[in-house]
Amino acid sequence: MNQIAETLASEHIHRDEVGAKIGMWLFLFTELILFGGMFLAYAVYRFSYRDYFALASKELDVFIGLINTLILLTSSLTMAMSITALRRGNKKLSLIFLSSTIIFALLFLVNKYFEWSAKFNHGLFPGSNDLLSLPRGEIIYFGLYYVMTGLHAVHVIIGMIILLFMLFYIKSNKVNQDYYIMLENSGLYWHLVDIIWIFLFPLFYLIH
């Protein structure tokens, strides 16, 4: 059955999976430069306001940051295993892994929500009087914190939506054992989101 489908596919549709993957990586490079520019701004300001950065980062909850790190690492694991499951022909297991990834993404956002609301309750939100009365170095730290983790959170939301689409595509067999490049590319995006957090966590939460 699969063979027939494959023959039909190769006769009627030209698929270039290496090309599709190269395209995805090219897109990821634009993301790298987008975040890279922000990391560069962070580096320059941390260089000039070392003590203020250390002071301001004490406001962050290392525990929440750590939990979110573990959540994202685990979500990357389930994402990768979802692809393996699909390629081995176990559609059900693939769906279970993919759903777990989406649930982890949701958990990450819930944590982020509580983390940010705690900050907001302390009057530390962009443009607030409490924040603006702080020394310049701390204002810059919180500015970078909100922009960088905020943009990262936007990526988590986008990733979640993409993965939801994949969930439906696998269910309807549009993505399957023989044609899984869409799932692979979504996975690449998801792992990029993980990698960015791997750098954000020590740079914002673990400063002395």
Binding site: E17, V18, K21, I22, W25, L26, F29, L32, I33, G36, G37, L40, A43, V44, R46, F47, V62, L66, T69, L70, L73, T74, S76, L77, M79, A80, M81, T84, R87, R88, E184, G187, L188, H191, D194, I195, I198, F199, F201, P202, L203, L206, I207, H208
Partner: protein, 95 residues
């Protein structure tokens, strides 16, 4: 055109990488509790880079894909490094 990569990474490999990543996370948190002065940022960045490399090589299949992908990624990071080095070579002397 048989370019398709047929290597399927097993669950065991992924779980092993995940365990390594979790261990490295614990390590980076532990190291951060000691005051190493200016050196602590270096240690944090080295650990983060090792973690990122693991994710890229195994989770993102760079180790198993065509060589062209590894060259791509190297060029992208080299570009970013040029930005960083040039910025700091300039910035370090402005005072």
């Amino acid at each position: 055109m048989e370019h398709k990569n047929n290597h399927i990474v097993g669950y065991g490999t992924y779980i092993f990488v995940w365990l390594t990543l979790v261990t490295l996370t614990a390590l980076t948190v532990t190291v951060a509790s000691f005051d190493l002065g200016g050196f602590s940022i270096v240690v944090a960045l080295i650990i983060a880079s090792v973690k990122a490399l693991l994710v890229m090589l195994i989770f993102m299949h760079l180790k198993f894909d065509d060589k062209i992908f590894r060259i791509f990624v190297a060029v992208a990071f080299l570009t970013l490094m040029i930005f960083i080095v040039l910025t700091f070579s300039d910035y370090s002397f402005i005072r």
